[in-house]
């Protein structure tokens, strides 16, 4: 007997910041679903945009869809889905979710998937019942078909990613000495810890209120930072420091390349031995970097408490060798030392980079095993079956 699969009419919105939209669409269509992918500008306000919502309303009014699908959760999309009583499936590829509040998430039309278990548990603990956990995926077919320009991209170590310029230095400049000291300590503490995230628990609402009071004492019109904004500033700063440090240390010893949008002169001075190569596009160039580099770094954003970032999956999905900071879910799905390599401190990262640069066979075996795991357990077909599962 064969199962009956319903082919669905899906409306997707692409807010032009989604890496995975292309591959998601490819597989949705491959599996027989009819997709209308509408590109939209990133709205200034994620919760309300008159023009967008009017146009989305119009789209739903004049065409027949079974559900709406986006990567990441967009409250303004959810509002329209609620009004039109149409299911809205969203899949977060950001961790933590870049939303100041959980407003709109509770609407019954939503099913929200988090790729990071820690986020799923946080939102579930808030009382949301329509949330689920679903790791990301890789289109290994497409990646395998890309021809690598070795002349251009071969190197020992590379890092593709943001350096996270953080607001923290600017925020600190107006704080009291006590507050500055406190936050410096939290940064240093978090820098030394892998597999544990303490920032949100130590930078409390009480502490943040103290900062707000300090600001108010300086000026009535001073900005009033929220706890979420402050903890994000700290977390992004820690990531910035970690990435700069690891690049600096590795750059001194090995041929290290940085692929990122921009690098300030001040930053260049900190990592003078690293080759700054500008940005690479996600679909065609980045995979070549991953395949051509002997080692691909993945110092994960600290605020991503547990999840396997897309970058890590893509590296392995390209047949690249992954050297990542410890992430609990990475350790859960991939064997450290067999399918990828994780580091537990800066010193550990440097030591492992050196080791694997001089142990080519081991490195190749690990990359191959990682790719194998990706093909088996991190493919889009499986994920899509889950995403659409309730509606088929």
């Amino acid at each position: 007997m064969f199962g009956i699969i319903t082919y669905m009419n899906i409306l997707l919105y692409d807010f032009l910041n989604s890496y995975i939209q292309y591959d998601l669409l490819y597989f949705l269509r491959k599996m027989g679903h009819k997709c209308n992918n509408i590109k939209a500008d990133n709205p200034a306000d994620k919760y309300y945009d008159e023009k967008f919502m009017r146009e989305m309303h119009h789209e739903l009014e004049h065409n027949s869809y079974d559900l709406v699908l986006t990567t990441n959760f967009w409250p303004l999309v959810s509002k329209v889905c609620k009004e039109k009583d149409i299911p809205y499936v969203s899949w977060f590829f950001d961790s933590p979710p870049n939303l100041p509040t959980a407003e709109c998430m509770e609407y019954e039309c939503n099913t929200i998937y988090f790729f990071a278990r820690a986020d799923y548990e946080t939102y579930k603990a808030m009382g949301l019942e329509n949330v689920q956990y679903l790791p990301l995926a890789v289109n290994t077919e497409r990646l395998a078909g890309i021809k690598t320009n070795h002349g251009k991209y071969d190197c020992e170590i590379s890092f593709v990613g943001k350096l996270y310029q953080s607001m923290l230095p600017a925020l600190k400049s107006h704080m009291t000495d006590y507050q500055k000291g406190f936050l410096d300590a939290v940064v240093n503490a978090q820098m030394g810890v892998y597999g544990g995230y303490i920032i949100d628990d130590v930078v409390t609402e009480e502490f943040t209120e103290g900062v707000r009071q300090q600001y108010r004492s300086l000026s009535e019109k001073a900005i009033q930072v929220s706890q979420k904004e402050l903890t994000w500033a700290v977390a992004s700063y820690v990531t910035h420091l970690e990435r700069m440090t690891i690049l600096r240390l590795l750059g001194k010893k090995y041929d290290t390349r940085l692929y990122t949008y921009e690098l300030s002169d001040a930053e260049k001075k900190i990592i003078p031995d690293v080759k700054f190569c500008g940005s690479v596009n996600y679909l065609e160039e980045m995979p070549q970097v991953f395949y051509a580099s002997k080692i691909n770094l993945c110092p994960v954003l600290k605020a991503n408490r547990s999840g396997i970032p897309l970058r890590a999956l893509d590296i392995m999905g390209c047949g690249g060798f992954l050297l990542s900071s410890y992430q609990s879910e990475l350790a859960e799905y991939f064997q450290d030392g067999t399918e990828c390599v994780m580091y537990y401190s800066m010193e550990d990262a440097i030591a492992k980079a050196g080791y694997y640069l001089s142990h080519e066979d081991e490195r190749a075996a690990i990359a191959a095993a990682g790719l194998d795991k990706i093909k088996r357990n991190f493919n889009y077909e499986d994920r899509i079956k889950v995403l659409l599962g309730d509606y088929q």
Partner: protein
């Protein structure tokens, strides 16, 4: 076999004496000669070294033994070619960093695997890992009456110091610190409190803050030791303060909901639901607390990074139910949830207190198994045998 035992006011002296008697009753011939010793002498006390060397020549023991490590003893033993077994139950222990630690006469038994690894990984051949013990025979011989239960018992007990004595090191420093440094240390302590199983303090004190602290307090590395400023200030000042905060906050938190019997030196500590019973005697009174309390808490001194503290051994050795913070070394010998229970956070602690107050049978079964394990593998007799075997090999 003749062991010269350095007799200072330490835990466990009587238990070592009893253990020797026990071993002798099984056919061994161990003479334990007690040698009165002032453990406060400085490491290079020439008078002591001179007179002790003379006594060593006179007594000619097979080896010298002490609780904790005493450099002056090691110097004398090394000069006279006599082995010296030091069983260290203190952490921190500044004296371990004395240059004398590498004396070939030394057999230093460390109860905290983190300290053992610190020294062993640097090439020290004089260190061994040896967890502490409990005087199970002595504890088992104590009969509990209803009066005892009335006097000592309760739902939840905590025996331990709150480390908040007047003029404690942190207090001395705090009042003179710059705002920045005060903020830094509080941020660091609050961060450490979120983490179990790893010390971040020692590696996270910036030089400027460290200098401020040492300018105020004056404590500095000994001329003949390799301890660092970081080690001294993170362990003797910060980790002690963290433990003080944790113990007072946690006990107060529990007291909001459940009655707690607190046995501690600090008579002035007051909190809702907490009955402060003051200081009790380790040898004569403490076992009664563990034998009559429903739940016995252990909140380990933060400088003991992995080791099984004496308190935990004693609780289980008394047949008490142990509810402790996470300590890695426990996992080597005891099964969590089977022989004892550990908590992962304050919320988890409250959940587990609620659960085990209600599930009395389960609690008693766990305590019973813990006791059996300590009785089988962690007695003073066994430790003494291990020490003798190692030293005389």
């Amino acid at each position: 076999m003749k062991i010269l035992f350095m007799d200072w006011k330490s835990y466990g002296n009587e238990d070592i004496v009893a253990a020797v008697q026990n071993l002798n009753s099984k056919g061994n011939k161990i003479e334990l000669k007690m040698y009165p010793f002032d453990n406060h002498i400085v490491n290079d006390d020439k008078n002591f070294i001179g007179s002790f060397s003379e006594d060593l020549r006179k007594e000619a023991p097979d080896f010298v033994m002490s609780f904790n490590y005493h450099p002056a003893v090691s110097v004398a033993c090394n000069n006279e070619g006599i082995k010296y077994a030091a069983w260290v139950y203190d952490n921190p222990s500044l004296r371990l960093f004395s240059y004398t630690a590498i004396n070939p006469c030394n057999y230093i038994f460390l109860f905290d695997s983190q300290v053992y690894e610190l020294f062993a990984s640097q090439g020290f051949k004089t260190v061994y890992y040896l967890p502490l013990a409990a005087a199970v025979d002595r504890y088992d011989s104590i009969r509990i009456t209803d009066t005892d239960r009335q006097k000592w018992g309760g739902k939840i007990s905590f025996v331990g110091s709150l480390y908040n004595e007047d003029h404690n090191y942190y207090e001395q420093i705090e009042e003179k610190l710059s705002d920045y440094s005060r903020g830094y240390l509080e941020g660091l302590m609050r961060s450490q409190m979120e983490i179990a199983g790893m010390d971040i303090v020692e590696k996270s004190i910036p030089k400027a803050v460290l200098k401020e602290m040492s300018d105020i307090l004056g404590a500095k590395p000994a001329y003949d030791g390799v301890e660092t400023y970081e080690y001294i200030y993170s362990n003797y000042v910060i980790n002690r303060k963290i433990t003080s905060i944790e113990r007072t906050e946690i006990i107060s938190m529990i007291g909001e909901k459940y009655p707690v019997n607190l046995f501690t030196k600090d008579r002035e500590f007051v909190a809702k639901g907490v009955t402060n019973r003051g200081l009790i005697d380790y040898y004569n009174d403490m076992p009664y607390v563990f034998k009559t309390s429903g739940i016995n808490l252990n909140i380990t001194l933060r400088s003991i990074q992995r080791g099984i503290p004496l308190r935990a051994m004693d609780i289980m050795g008394c047949g008490g139910f142990l509810l402790t913070n996470y300590q890695e070394d426990m996992l080597q010998f005891f099964e969590p949830g089977v022989d004892y229970v550990y908590y992962e956070s304050r919320a988890d602690l409250m959940d587990k207190i609620a659960y085990f107050l209600e599930h009395e049978d389960e609690r008693r079964a766990i305590a019973k198994r813990g006791h059996a394990k300590v009785k089988a593998d962690h007695t003073y007799e066994q430790r003494l045998e291990t020490i003798i075997e190692t030293v005389m090999d």
